[in-house]
Symmetry: C2
C-alpha cells in the first residue's frame, strides 16, 4: 500500500442548486447526469487507482453520515470525518490532516471537493499522479489550475510565474474577477482557474498550519490522543464550534511562499450553478438542456429543465430560465438571476419552517 491519502470534502449544502439540491440531500449525493453514480461516487471512482480505499477520508457534516454510508458501503465508519458545525475549508482540512497524522507521519495528501465534474478522467489521474510524486519529493503546496476556456467570472484565478513546464510557482491568487478582468486574464495566458484541488505532504501542510493558522491547528493537537480512537467524535464535537470559519485559500495558500500550480486540462467544472450545468449539458437546437425528464419546447430557448425522472415538461414562450422541480418544490427563475436562489431558500426556510429545505 502506498502512502497517498485523499480527503474528499463533502459537507456543502449546494443551495445554489435548490430545489434539486436540498439540505437533506445536497448535490454531491445526487446523480446529476443520470449515470447511476452520484457526484461523490464518481469522485471516489476517479481517485481509487491513485489512493488505496483505506486512505480515503470523507469530511462532511454530521447530518450526512448515513447518506455516505449508503452511497459508499466500502468506506468504513472511521473514514467518515464528521464536523458538528460548518467552519469553511481550513478547519475541515486541519481536522483531516490531524486525523491522518495520528495514523502516520508519512503521507502525501490530495484534497478535493466531492461535487466537481471532471470529463477526462484519464488526464485527471495522470495529472494527480504527477502531483503526488512532486509533493512527495518537495516541500510544496501544490494546486491544480485549469486552463481557462472562457472568461468565466464565477471562478477564482491563479497567476503563475513564467516558464516552460506546466508545473510552476504561483504568483498570485485572485478572487472572482469582473467580466473585463476575466477577459484580460484569459488573453494573458498567465492565469488558470482555481479548481480547489490541493496536494501536499504531511510535513509541508503541517508546518503551514503551525505558521499561518495556529488557532485552527492547535485544538487538534490538544485532542491528539483521542484521534483514531472511539473518543474522536466526542473530542471533535467539543473543539469544532470554537474554530474560526476560514478558507484554506485565504488562510494558507495566499500567504505561503512555497505554492505551486500544475496547469491541467481535464474538463473540469465546479458545477456551481444551474447556468454552469446548462453549459455542460447536452442541448437541443434551441439551446435548451433537459435533465432526467422528458421535455417539449415551443418557441423556447436557452432553458435548463430538470424534473424528476419520468415526468414531462412542456415549455412555451420562455427563454433563458431555470425550471427545476424536486420533491414538492418547483423553481422557475431567470438564469441570469440564479445568484438569488440562496435568498429564495432562506425566505422559504423562514416562511415554511424549513419544510422545503
Amino acid at each position: 500500500m502506498n502512502n497517498n491519502w485523499c480527503v474528499i470534502m463533502a459537507g456543502g449544502i449546494g443551495s445554489r442548486f435548490w430545489p434539486y439540491s436540498r439540505n437533506s440531500c445536497p448535490k454531491q449525493f445526487l446523480d446529476f447526469f443520470g449515470t447511476g453514480r452520484s457526484l461523490l461516487q464518481m469522485t471516489i471512482d476517479r481517485i481509487l487507482p491513485l489512493v488505496p480505499m483505506e486512505h480515503i477520508l470523507i469530511a462532511t457534516n454530521a447530518s450526512y453520515r448515513s447518506l455516505i454510508r449508503e452511497q459508499l458501503p466500502e468506506i468504513s465508519d472511521s473514514q467518515i470525518l464528521c464536523e458538528p458545525v460548518r467552519r469553511n475549508t481550513a478547519p475541515c482540512i486541519a481536522y483531516a490532516v490531524a486525523h491522518i497524522r495520528a495514523l502516520t507521519d508519512d503521507a502525501n495528501i490530495l484534497v478535493a471537493s466531492s461535487d466537481a465534474l471532471i470529463l477526462d478522467v484519464e488526464e485527471f489521474r495522470s495529472m494527480i499522479g504527477r502531483g503526488l510524486l512532486f509533493v512527495e519529493k518537495n516541500d510544496a503546496l501544490l494546486t491544480i489550475g485549469m486552463r481557462p476556456t472562457r472568461p468565466e467570472t464565477g471562478y477564482g484565478y491563479i497567476q503563475f510565474e513564467k516558464g516552460e513546464d506546466s508545473l510552476r510557482k504561483v504568483k498570485t491568487f485572485t478572487e472572482k474577477p469582473n467580466r473585463e478582468l476575466a477577459e484580460v486574464f484569459m488573453q494573458s495566458g498567465e492565469f488558470l482557474w482555481n479548481a480547489g484541488i490541493f496536494l501536499w505532504n504531511m510535513q509541508s501542510i503541517w508546518r503551514c498550519f503551525e505558521k499561518y493558522l495556529p488557532d485552527v491547528l492547535m485544538p487538534f493537537v490538544k485532542i491528539r490522543k483521542d484521534l483514531g480512537t472511539p473518543e474522536e467524535q466526542r473530542a471533535v464535537d467539543r473543539i469544532f464550534p470554537t474554530l474560526p470559519s476560514i478558507s484554506i485559500d485565504y488562510g494558507i495558500m495566499e500567504k505561503a511562499d512555497n505554492v505551486y500550480v500544475l496547469a491541467a486540462d481535464f474538463g473540469w467544472s465546479d458545477l456551481g450553478t444551474w447556468g454552469a450545468l446548462h453549459g455542460l449539458s447536452e442541448r437541443d437546437e434551441n439551446n435548451n438542456a433537459t435533465l432526467h425528464c422528458n421535455a417539449d419546447y415551443y418557441d423556447a430557448h436557452g432553458n435548463i429543465v430538470a424534473l424528476e425522472s419520468g415526468k414531462l415538461a412542456v415549455v412555451q414562450g420562455i427563454d433563458d430560465c431555470i425550471i427545476a422541480e424536486s420533491d414538492g418544490v418547483l423553481l422557475v427563475c431567470r438564469k441570469q438571476d440564479e445568484q438569488e436562489i440562496r435568498h429564495f431558500v432562506d425566505d422559504a426556510e423562514e416562511k415554511y419552517n424549513g419544510k422545503y429545505n
Copy 2:
C-alpha cells in the same frame, strides 16, 4: 315530486386545462378551488332544490362512468347516460330527451354543463326557478344570458329584442366576436353572454328536434322500446356512432323562432381557460393567482400557478404565464398563447403514446 328534470353534460375532456385536466380526470371532476367539491358536484348541489335527485341525468362519455359513481354515489346507474363516442351537444341532448320521454311525456327540462363556475347560487336558483315556470307554460326554448361585465372574446353572444322585462325574445346568436365587436356588443346593452344553459318542456324540444334535426332524433325513436330497459346501453352504443356531430346552438337554437333569453347576473364563468381562471381567482398585489399550492413570487406578475396541494412554487422574473403541474406533467406557457395548449396535448399524445394525456 315535481316534473322538473335536469340534464348535466359531463362528457368534455377539458384539454385547454391540461395538464391539470386530463383524459382520465377532466376538469368537471376536479376540485378546482380547493373547496372539497368538484365542479360536477357543485353543479348538482346548485340544482337540487329545483329538481328531484331522481330526475337528474348525467350525460357523459362511457369512460367516466366510474368517476361519476364515485363522486355522486346518490345517483343511480340508470341516471348516467353514457355516449360511446363524442358527438357534440345535439346528439347528447337528443339522447337525454328521448330517455326522459320513455319515462314521461310531461317534463320541464334544464340542460346545463358540469364545468361552469357560478358564484351567486341563490340568484342562479331564483332565475332557473323562474325559467322552469316559464317553459312549463310556454312553447319556448329558453336560454340563460349573462349580462357581460367585460368585452370577452371567448364567449358567444345573444342579442335580444327591446323590452322592459329581463325575459325577452332572442334576435340573434353570435359566435365569439373579435375585440372591437365585443366592445360594441357590450356598449349596446342588447347583448348577453351565451351561458349554454337551456330550459324547455318536452313537447317544445321534441318538436324542434323533429323539425330541425330529424337525423339526430329518429335513431332514438327507433330504439324507444330499449330506452329505460337493460338493453338501453347496447342500443345507444349501436346508433350513437352513426349520428352527426353538431351543436344544439347551431342545430336548433339559431334556427327556431320561439327562442327566448332570460338575462341574469349570477357570476357565471365557463371556466374555459387558464386565463379565465386567473381572472376569477384571488390574486396578490402583483396580479399572481395561486391555486392549491404555496407560491412565492419575486419580480413576477400576472401569473397563474397551480401545483398539487402541499407543493411550493418559487417563481422569479416571469410575467403573464401559466405554470401548472399535475400528475407528472408540468406546463409553463404564456397566458396569451394558451389556445396552443390543445396542440401540446396532441403532440404529447403522439410522442409519448398517451402516457401524459
